[in-house]
């Protein structure tokens, strides 16, 4: 690190460089407006945001949007093909598929948001402590997350759901706990990377106490990475909830859930394929939306990342 001229180093080797140190680029971490501009410049991110916002609105205003009560059965609509009265068709006991899709958004999004909120609120502090304190505290926390990671996500969620008993709430808890180690590790890695940065040492040199370094100097710098990971984990959590419900371990009938709808639908594939198409498509769209938005968020927050 001796007086290295950054010309060659900065302008050339990789796509990251152009944003490198010398060429002043509009990396404006301080201003929300600049971030919003960069986000809007990414078409896929905007598409993702529109999908996400659309689904959230659908879940919130389900009662106004759904044409029927999602649990109301109509013997005339049993496995009915899509029609004007039932645009998405009817299910095995004659409930309106469209209404169930609209209400099902509540289970999916709710599970995604609640479980990730749980995972972040557990994982972020643990990761901060592990990364900043180091030593045996770090060792203990890391071994614990290693152990949790050794049990694959869905397997752990299934096991938890099995022992806690199947319900949407328990599924959310299970998913949240399984996702926690991701956030512990991410936070810890970020904290460690930042702690090695000179500005953290500079903060110490002026007499900052440890808590202030962690909260004022480190935390704001890892928020973007956590946000991105949270968005992408919501996508994974939606799939996980749908998976558990598909296995019968999540939302219990007759309450609507996309995963549970698919579970029933697979028994009627040859007679009523629409029962399988709509819920699957909904899950796909929701997950796609969060993935697109998360990728866009990452690019907009850190222009040095992927292109």
């Amino acid at each position: 690190m001796s007086g290295i001229d950054r010309d060659g180093a900065a302008l050339l080797p990789s796509p990251t460089v152009v944003e490198g140190r010398r060429v002043p680029l509009p990396r404006e971490p301080g201003t929300l407006r600049a971030f919003w501009r960069r986000l809007r410049a990414r078409r896929s991110a905007v598409v993702g945001l529109v999908i996400v916002v659309g689904l959230v609105l659908m879940a919130v205003f389900a009662a106004w949007i759904a044409p029927y009560d999602p649990t109301e059965t109509d013997w005339g609509a049993v496995r009915a093909a899509p029609s004007l009265a039932h645009p998405f068709g009817g299910d095995e006991v004659g409930r309106d598929v469209l209404a169930r899709i609209v209400y099902g958004a509540r289970a999916s999004l709710g599970a995604g948001l609640v479980s990730v909120a749980l995972a972040v609120s557990l994982g972020l502090p643990l990761g901060l402590v592990a990364g900043y304190a180091g030593g045996w505290v770090d060792g203990a926390i890391m071994r614990l997350t290693d152990a949790l990671l050794a049990i694959p996500f869905l397997i752990l969620a299934i096991a938890l759901a099995a022992f806690l008993g199947p319900s949407l709430t328990n599924a959310m808890v299970a998913i949240g706990l399984s996702a926690t180690s991701t956030f512990v590790r991410l936070t810890r890695a970020q904290v460690q990377a930042l702690a090695a940065e000179e500005f953290v040492e500079a903060a110490r040199s002026v007499g900052n106490p440890p808590w202030r370094i962690a909260l004022v100097h480190i935390l704001p710098n890892i928020v973007p990475a956590i946000l991105v990971q949270a968005t992408l984990t919501i996508a994974a959590a939606i799939i996980a909830e749908a998976s558990l419900s598909f296995l019968g371990l999540g939302q219990q009938p007759p309450e609507p859930s996309w995963g549970a709808m698919l579970n029933v639908a697979k028994n009627f594939l040859d007679q009523a394929p629409w029962m399988a198409i709509w819920p699957g498509l909904s899950i796909f769209l929701a997950v796609l939306g969060f993935n697109l938005f998360g990728d866009g968020l990452r690019d907009a927050l850190d222009p040095r990342g992927r292109t």
Partner: protein, 314 residues
């Protein structure tokens, strides 16, 4: 190299011990009397007494864990009350099926993901890159049980090419076995391939932007050699280590895939056990999954170390 492996092994042991504690502790989540809950559907007092004795439920928790862990180490994963079989036997029966599925799926994932990742990195910013990223996004976003249903709809219901369910052991007929495994393996591999593609792309972009690749270009190395000889071997290390983390995804996904295609593997065993409230089996399957996962990761570490000259020589 040996030192590196020894260190990895030394880390794996406490991980597994802690994981087993977590799995054991799951029992405590059961509502009400543990023995009654563990007996599942059975209400026979004799069975309950047997369970109480078997799990030493009258002893304090750490002691119980000790007995249980000793049993697990000796290959005793407990008894499936429901199936009247030892869990070890059940696992031994089902594990090969799941491993076959997982290996085939990993092959699918590698065969799709790695070349696609290389291509998109080398042709960054072109339509090929956009297309590969689109495919990866699709793979990440489509729930694999839905993909499975759609494939059954197309290949079994509509076209009748492949069986919708069932499993034929390879010892009986390799061809039938592969036919039955084709859809499950593809469905399972699909999501992983997307992740592999992203890892490969990121690793390749990193390497392609490195100073030594510029050196190679300055030597007049051809693009093909640049990718295959200079970039790929160095990108392989992160691809292997990150790819190994996907074994978890693979084992998770296997549960669903087996459920959809009625493949009699591990996942099916577990889900059935959950519904039968056959908790010993659930625990047994989870601990075996964890062990498999840790084992596979260790294997990947060995592979990564073999590729890395800094470790090979050390």
């Amino acid at each position: 190299m040996l030192q590196f492996l020894a260190r990895r092994l030394a880390l794996a042991v406490p991980t597994l011990i802690l994981a087993s504690m977590i799995i054991f502790a799951l029992q405590q989540l059961l509502p009400g009397d543990t023995a009654t809950a563990l007996s599942g559907e059975e209400r026979d007092p004799e069975v309950i007494a047997f369970i109480r004795d078997k799990y030493h439920l009258d002893r304090p928790l750490p002691v119980r864990y000790g007995y249980w862990a000793a049993g697990v180490l000796g290959g005793d994963l407990g008894e499936s009350i429901r199936l009247q079989k030892s869990v070890s036997e059940l696992v031994a029966e089902k594990l090969p099926v799941t491993l076959e599925l997982a290996c085939l799926a990993m092959l699918v994932a590698l065969a799709i993901g790695v070349p696609m990742g290389i291509l998109s990195a080398v042709r960054r910013g072109t339509w090929a890159d956009t297309l590969a990223n689109g495919v990866a996004l699709w793979g990440l976003s489509i729930p694999n049980f839905w993909l499975g249903i759609l494939m059954i709809l197309l290949f079994s219901v509509q076209l009748g090419w492949l069986p919708a369910s069932g499993y034929v052991p390879p010892s009986e007929s390799l061809w039938e076995n592969l036919k039955a495994m084709a859809m499950p393996a593809f469905v399972l591999g699909n999501a992983i391939s997307a992740v592999m593609m992203r890892h490969t792309r990121a690793a390749m972009l990193g390497v392609l932007g490195s100073d030594y690749v510029r050196t190679a270009r300055a030597k007049g190395v051809s693009p093909l050699r640049l990718v295959l000889r200079h970039a790929l071997p160095n990108a392989a290390i992160p691809i292997i280590t990150l790819g190994a983390l996907e074994f978890g995804q693979l084992l998770s996904g296997a549960v669903l895939t087996e459920q959809i295609f009625s493949v009699p593997g591990f996942g099916k065993l577990m889900v059935d056990a959950v519904f039968n409230r056959d908790f010993a089996t659930v625990q047994g399957v989870v601990i075996c999954t964890a062990a498999t996962y840790v084992g596979l990761n260790l294997a990947a570490d060995v592979l990564a170390a073999a590729v890395n000259p800094k470790l090979r020589r050390a």
